[in-house]
């Protein structure tokens, strides 16, 4: 009898366990597990974890980085992990490797749709596969399919980027986390058709919104995830002065000309890493030139720092428009830094200047109806307005930019018109901003001040480039004064104007084709391609009103590596900039980018890297669950300010307008070729009948037992 009972319960337990399989419901889990929506509605899966290692070697002006991402699947079923992560906005990404045990599978560059098709095919076949796609130049998605229960798959991604230099300080920024972005709601555009029935179409400023909205953990109730390790091998090519990490504690060893840097403490991907270094005083290089030969072509990277102007420059009066972001994502220390920076800027205004202040979240306000004299009263009024700002709401950035660029005296040459934009750039509609700036910039110059621990540096750099200004990053309160001082030195005036670079041989291509004005301390960076590097390049311009000219002999170049990729990457940027300025059509830009990316094996907006392990691992019939890898909230961000206020605003609007619900849900699927258009169906069986049958059986068993007990009494 006892044996019978045990067998019965064992069978029952197995049946219940079988129903559970991979999926869990939130209540089934203990604490510490991370649950995420799977592709089967209402069911959740334990998220895969990603640990990242950054191995960076800096040689002269070029940094090459190998990122190793370990995807670990803690769940009991097969999963597909989707990890959204940032890379530097100027990174030329050329390598994807998948390491399984002791095998290494090297990825190939394919046209985006083709790569996606190869990945989906391999995924369906049960083969391990990885797909690296670019969502924005600084935002990538890595998808890894068929990670077995308890299994770890290692992915390696490699890229190079030029080292940034400004005011004699060299710097390298490694973004670590994608900050939650504000994606403006799709707009309904009315269109009248012939039979007088009004039709609505939807215009979505962020057509790929669902690809860039990974889940973010509330740091108050979750331990940080996604641990990082980092090592830098720094060989700048000159004797080093001070080497500093801006936001992390590091260990540094080495000698005068080389350093090895590593993180001192265990860290998590919740804020950018920045390393800065300077040359030992008197050893600053004025010119650096590296070359590389690839596939019959010579490529060179040239950096020149123009001479400092001799005489003190006459300060030109200016019209300064300050734009400050007080949206929810700026909550916490960011808002304080932005306010301190703007107050500093107001105090630097002088009599004769004009100014105005615009603040925005999902609403906007302009302090003065138009730019006013920088009188003490006006400045005081603006200062108290700024000091009273609080961070909340969404980030509608397009209208404030339009207001800032509206130039009432466009013909007035006596004032320099400058727009200073303080924001973390946490938006998904970058292209709308670029298109507006490209068409409306006029004589205004745009200076971006990036605030916070993980600003959107792609937005900042591209805006500065299109706006012919510069980009300054302020990551913590201590940096406000020094970095704003540097910015103001730049605001005074461009030091070098009318720059031209001419090669002695017409067959030598020089990029970028139109050279920017340079601000104080900024070097000129050129990328060169030729069949053979010979002759020289003459760089000329006006330095504080006087002509300046320098010849650089190309045969003095020092061998370097990765320069061809940087050349291609810079040309891709050029194509995108030309598109934003309306010089070429988007499809022409795509064609140009595709040719460059395929030739140089780069990931771009039209190409992806895909790797497939031909050995099948998941058997047919075993289910695969797709899930996002959760991200940390960037350090210093206020979770409630971002998710407590921003999202409900959108949801509330959507709830009130059924048409909008339909459009927000359907538009991305209809417009983006990547969107999955087929609907997965939810689980529609309840255990109700099973439970009732099991209950009845157990009660029958009890009766049987009772009956047996009676018989025992009789006997």
């Amino acid at each position: 009898m006892k044996r019978l009972l045990i067998t019965f319960f064992a069978v029952l337990a197995t049946a219940i366990a079988a129903m559970a399989a991979t999926f869990v419901k939130p209540n089934d889990m203990g604490t510490g597990a991370l649950l995420f929506k799977s592709n089967e509605p209402g069911q959740f899966v334990e998220a895969p974890r990603v640990a990242s290692d950054f191995d960076i070697s800096v040689t002269g002006q070029i940094a090459r980085t190998r990122v190793t991402q370990q995807f670990r699947n803690p769940a009991k079923g097969w999963v597909e992990g989707v990890y959204v992560f940032p890379l530097p906005e100027n990174a030329a990404v050329d390598t994807l490797k998948m390491v399984i045990g002791d095998r290494v599978i090297v990825g190939d560059v394919k046209e985006r749709q083709e790569a996606k098709r190869i990945y989906e095919q391999a995924k369906a076949n049960g083969e391990k596969t990885a797909l690296l796609e670019q969502e924005r130049p600084n935002l990538f998605t890595n998808q890894v399919a068929n990670i077995g229960p308890g299994e770890t798959i290692v992915i390696q991604i490699e890229y190079q980027q030029p080292v940034r230099q400004s005011g004699g300080v060299f710097s390298l920024r490694v973004p670590m986390v994608v900050a939650p972005r504000y994606n403006p709601a799709p707009e309904l555009v009315a269109a009248v058709s012939a039979d007088s029935v009004e039709m609505y179409t939807v215009s979505d400023p962020v057509p790929d919104r669902q690809r860039i909205e990974p889940p973010v953990l509330d740091p108050r109730s979750n331990a940080p995830v996604n641990p990082i390790t980092l090592a830098i091998d720094l060989k700048p090519g000159f004797d080093l002065g001070e080497v500093k990490s801006s936001y992390h504690d590091v260990n540094a060893t080495g000698d005068a000309s080389a350093r090895k840097i590593s993180l001192k403490n265990p860290e998590f991907a919740d804020r950018d890493f920045e390393l800065t270094w300077v040359a030992k005083s008197g050893k600053e290089p004025a010119v650096s030139l590296f070359n590389e030969k690839v596939a019959g072509n010579d490529y060179a990277l040239l950096q020149i720092t123009p001479p400092e102007p001799q005489a003190e420059q006459k300060r030109l009066p200016r019209e300064a428009i300050f734009v400050i972001d007080n949206s929810g994502s700026m909550g916490g220390p960011s808002m304080g830094q932005a306010k301190a920076s703007l107050v500093y800027a107001l105090d630097r205004l002088e009599p004769g200047d004009k100014f105005n202040v615009i603040r925005f979240d999902d609403t906007m306000e302009t302090v003065f109806a138009q730019a006013v004299e920088a009188s003490p009263e006006n400045i005081n009024y603006a200062r108290s307005f700024v000091n009273a700002l609080e961070a909340s709401g969404g980030t509608e950035m397009v209208e404030p930019l339009r207001a800032a660029l509206r130039d009432s005296n466009a013909g007035d040459g006596s004032l320099l018109r400058q727009v200073v934009f303080l924001t973390d750039g946490a938006i998904g509609n970058e292209q709308q901003m670029f298109d507006l700036l490209g068409t409306m910039r006029g004589r205004s110059r745009v200076f971006m001040v990036g605030i916070g621990s993980a600003p959107n540096s792609f937005l900042m750099n591209r805006m500065a480039e299109l706006g012919r200004g510069s980009f300054t990053q302020i990551g913590e309160g201590g940096q406000v004064e020094q970095r704003m001082r540097e910015l103001f030195a730049k605001l005074e005036n461009p030091v070098v104007t009318e720059l031209k670079a001419a090669a002695s041989d017409a067959a030598i291509e020089v990029t970028p084709s139109t050279l920017p004005d340079l601000y104080k301390g900024e070097p000129l960076t050129l990328l060169v391609r030729a069949k053979e590097l010979k002759g020289d390049i003459a760089v000329s311009g006006m330095v504080s009103g006087r002509p300046w000219r320098q010849n650089i002999a190309l045969d003095t170049a020092v061998p370097g590596s990765g320069i061809s990729k940087l050349w291609a990457r810079r040309n891709i940027d050029d194509a995108e900039v030309a598109q934003s300025l309306g010089q070429i059509s988007p499809s022409d830009a795509d064609r140009r980018i595709l040719a460059l990316a395929l030739e140089h094996h780069l990931v771009s907006r039209v190409t992806s890297l895909v790797a497939v392990d031909k050995t099948p691992s998941r058997k047919p019939g075993e289910k695969l669950t797709r899930t996002d890898v959760p991200l940390n909230l960037p350090a210093g961000w206020d979770y409630d300010k971002v998710f407590g206020e921003q999202k409900p605003v959108l949801e509330r609007e959507a709830m009130l307008d059924p048409t909008l619900i339909a459009s927000t849900r359907n538009a991305p699927a209809a417009q983006s070729p990547d969107a999955q258009q087929q609907i997965d169906l939810p689980q529609t069986a309840t255990p109700s009948q099973l439970l009732m049958i099991a209950g009845a059986l157990i009660m029958a068993l009890a009766l049987l037992l009772q009956f047996w007990s009676r018989r025992t009494r009789v006997a």
Partner: protein, 198 residues
């Protein structure tokens, strides 16, 4: 304690366990029926006021449509979303699917042993009426049914014209969970405009 008393006690305990499990099963059925009464009221109110109305304070969903099959005399109030919680109370309107009457496919899913227990009886040609929260009713005509895998439904969000799909688990009298789904397809009957003048 005698062996007999031990047996009696065991029998009582097992009977209690059996009853509990049975009650859990019955509760799922009861909830499904009871909730529909509350949902009827909430839906009527949201049609009247033009705003989403939650059927009870702590609900995380709200009624969005009424689905009727006049030939069978069956109807159900559908809820927004298709999470397990919503489906316990009524058919769910799948998040990514179209609004009724709009181009694309409108998908409702419900449990085979509760709200969509009648789905097997829907025949080709039967009318299915869907009333939206704005009070407008769209009449669909059943074109067929099929059995599909949950992850290969063939139901496209941007299908041509206004389509309707009612989904439940297959087999209809099954007792355990499985990967198969039963789908009833219907298409919007003539006359209904895709977008109205405002």
């Amino acid at each position: 304690m005698t062996r007999r008393r031990l047996l009696n006690l065991g029998a009582a305990a097992i009977a209690a366990l059996g009853l509990t499990i049975f009650a859990q099963g019955a509760w799922i059925q009861a909830k499904a029926v009871l909730a529909q009464y509350l949902l009827e009221d909430a839906f009527a109110e949201s049609v009247a006021t033009g705003r989403p109305v939650k059927p009870w304070d702590w609900a995380d969903t709200w009624p969005v449509a009424k689905i009727e099959v006049p030939s069978l005399g069956r109807s159900a109030i559908a809820l927004a979303g298709s999470s397990g919680q919503a489906l316990a109370f009524g058919p769910g309107h799948l998040d990514r699917s179209a609004e009724p009457g709009e181009p694309g496919t409108t998908v409702y899913a419900a449990h085979r042993d509760t709200h969509f227990a009648f789905l097997g009886a829907v025949k080709v040609g039967d009318a299915i009426e869907v009333t939206r929260a704005d009070g407008r009713t769209f009449i669909y005509q059943t074109t067929g049914s099929e059995i599909v895998r949950w992850d290969n439904s063939g139901i496209s969000t941007d299908a041509r014209g206004a389509q309707l799909a009612l989904v439940t688990c297959w087999p209809l009298d099954g007792k355990t969970r499985g990967p198969l789904r039963y789908v009833v397809h219907a298409t919007l009957k003539e006359g209904a405009k895709i977008a109205e003048a405002r």
